[in-house]
């Protein structure tokens, strides 16, 4: 039995292990804010032209002129990282927005209408789910060519099942509650029931999933760029940079790969911490 169950019907405020003022969560939020700022203002913040060749010696280590050193073509890594934030961070946002919007719509319709609608959409979802996201992305690239557009579209579709299943479960649970039946007997319109009651109820898990999904999308897109199928040179998308810097690793100049890699890791870490917090908040609802 849970502690809450034992303490009686009304849940008293028992000791909370993670309060909203958790320093880790605040740090994560600040990091995300910083990353967002860089994504938007990167080009303005860069001291050098990211595509300008030979602004410094080739593969030089970090120094006062080049905070992160230079790459195999003499370009300033720091500037490239700043400018690369935009494609690396904004592309996943598209994936999340598209997949969440479509997934939520499908999930809610499935739960709402049931019957044939549910049957067909469940089958479609199952088929999409059977194709791993990476495979779908690769398939898309083989059809439409390299670049970020095809992978974004493919991943948006690939992520739909996760969202729609989650939303469907949450919506069905909510629709099963007696207050929905009560609203219906009261004569409240179906639209009002859906938008005034059902949607706010499923919003928390949707938000939690979006946060976590952003992290996955970022990793997947960077991986696709790493493979050479996503963003293309001379773009300084972080995945591209990591891949391009691989030969330099063995000659003792890891900066070209390591700095963008570190940024990917830090961003995803921050997203995961925030995601965990949002998930706990979302689950804290009932009772």
């Amino acid at each position: 039995m849970s502690v809450a169950q034992l303490a009686g019907g009304r849940v008293p405020r028992l000791a909370r292990r993670a309060s909203a003022r958790d320093p880790l969560v605040i740090a994560a939020a600040l990091v995300m804010l910083l990353i967002a700022v860089i994504a938007v203002f990167g080009p303005l913040m860069a001291p050098y032209d990211p595509n300008q060749l030979y602004v410094g010696p080739v593969l030089s280590p970090p120094s006062l002129e080049h905070y992160m050193g230079t790459d195999d073509l003499g370009r300033d890594i720091y500037s490239r990282v700043l400018v690369g934030a935009a494609p690396s961070v904004i592309a996943p946002v598209f994936v999340v927005i598209l997949s969440t919007a479509l997934g939520a719509a499908i999930g809610i319709s499935s739960a709402w209408f049931g019957g044939v609608v549910d049957g067909i959409s469940s089958r479609v979802i199952e088929v999409i789910f059977a194709i791993p996201g990476l495979v779908l992305a690769v398939l898309a690239v083989s059809m439409f060519g390299k670049g970020l557009i095809a992978p974004i579209a493919a991943l948006s579709i690939a992520y739909i099942p996760i969202v729609s299943r989650l939303v469907r479960t949450a919506a069905r649970a909510e629709l099963g509650k007696p207050y929905i039946a009560a609203l219906r007997i009261q004569g409240v319109s179906s639209l009002a029931i859906c938008f005034r009651h059902l949607v706010p109820a499923v919003l928390p898990p949707i938000l939690a999933q979006s946060t976590v999904g952003f992290g996955y999308a970022m990793l997947d897109l960077a991986a696709i760029s790493f493979l050479g199928l996503g963003a293309q040179p001379p773009s300084s998308d972080w995945g591209v940079m990591i891949s391009a810097g691989q030969p330099a690793l063995l000659t003792g100049a890891p900066e070209q790969s390591m700095f963008p890699a570190a940024l990917v890791v830090v961003t995803v870490l921050a997203v995961n911490i925030l995601g965990a917090r949002v998930t706990t908040w979302a689950e804290g609802g009932d009772r």
Binding site: V127, P132, V138, L249, L250, L269, N272
Partner: protein, 319 residues
């Protein structure tokens, strides 16, 4: 297993076959949706003459109606004729055959790592007290932010440049040499999944530890170790299995990244290359292969879960 469970499983199997069929249709239609005429991709850099066009169309069945093309494609898959590569002009089957082994070995190696470390750390986190739990929590938090390509370059740098304990390129020859070469790639693939499975395992076990039927066993004085094995872990295993099954099934696709980073000539690197060169038949066949593996693996997991918990196939409510 009684008849009800068997019927449920057969139903599920039917559903899976349907899914597989629909997925194959989707994959096949990739060819049709590709902008531009495949004839030109096949012709390559040469400007095709009308005779060449006709020849290409006949060879690749491009002049047939759509559903005939699909049927000949699918029929070919079953009979071993997997089509011909647009780029290499050789049968796809020949391109794939030598590579399957190495990819399978890589995936298996990774799987072992995931099970040992992921499951293991999850169990430890759930059963060895707060300190261990926190440590595992922090470690897995990092792990979940370390994708394959990041771990790959880290390992390449450490072992290629600094330490040299493991090779950082190629797959080697001979089983032991293969394993030696595949160690770093397997690790790079495994890290993220270890973290994920560890969390799931811990969560499932902790969830069962508080279950009421565990309380009953405690009151009756049954030894803790037995309670863990027969009540906590057993009841947590369906949940762990189903999540693990889905995640691991995707492993085959993700192996492409490790293959790229470490220069391994497996299915994944072929897939990447083919996609880059718009070699649709190759991409289609490999995609179909990966999807089949995914579906089959999930089916196996479903069967195992049904054996452990036959009631999981019972619907919980109706109407």
């Amino acid at each position: 297993m009684n008849t009800r469970v068997l019927r449920q499983l057969l139903g599920k199997l039917g559903g899976l076959l349907l899914t597989l069929f629909l997925a194959s249709v989707l994959i096949f239609s990739a060819m049709l949706l590709t902008p531009g005429d495949p004839v030109f991709t096949i012709a390559g850099s040469v400007r095709p003459t009308p005779e060449m066009i006709a020849a290409i169309q006949e060879q690749y069945h491009l002049d047939q109606p759509v559903w005939v093309q699909y049927l000949s494609w699918i029929g070919g898959v079953f009979s071993g004729d997997l089509g011909t590569s647009f780029v290499y002009k050789t049968p796809v089957a020949e391109l794939i055959a030598p590579r399957i082994g190495i990819t399978a070995l890589l995936v298996l190696y990774t799987l072992v790592l995931i099970v040992v470390f992921g499951l293991g750390s999850g169990i430890l986190a759930a059963t060895r007290g707060r300190a261990v739990d926190r440590t595992v929590l922090v470690t897995t938090s990092f792990g979940m932010a370390l994708p394959t390509f990041v771990v790959a370059i880290l390992l390449i740098w450490i072992f290629g440049r600094v330490l040299g304990w493991f090779p950082v390129y190629g797959a080697g020859s001979g089983l032991l040499d293969n394993l030696y070469h595949l160690t770093l790639p397997a690790i790079s693939l495994a890290v993220l999944y270890i973290a994920y499975i560890s969390r799931i395992t811990r969560g499932a076990i902790v969830g069962q530890q508080h279950a009421e039927h565990v309380e009953t066993a405690l009151v009756r004085g049954i030894p803790r170790s037995r309670i863990f094995r027969r009540h906590v872990f057993l009841n947590a295993s369906p949940q762990i299995l189903s999540v693990s099954g889905a995640t691991v099934a995707g492993l085959f696709a993700v192996s492409a990244i490790a293959e790229q980073a470490f220069g391994i000539g497996g299915l994944g690197s072929l897939l990447t290359e083919a996609a880059a060169r718009k070699d649709v038949p190759v991409v289609q066949v490999i995609s179909l292969l990966l999807v089949t593996v995914f579906v089959v693996l999930n089916a196996v997991v479903d069967v195992v879960i049904a054996v452990i918990d036959p009631d999981s196939t019972k619907p919980r409510s109706l109407a």
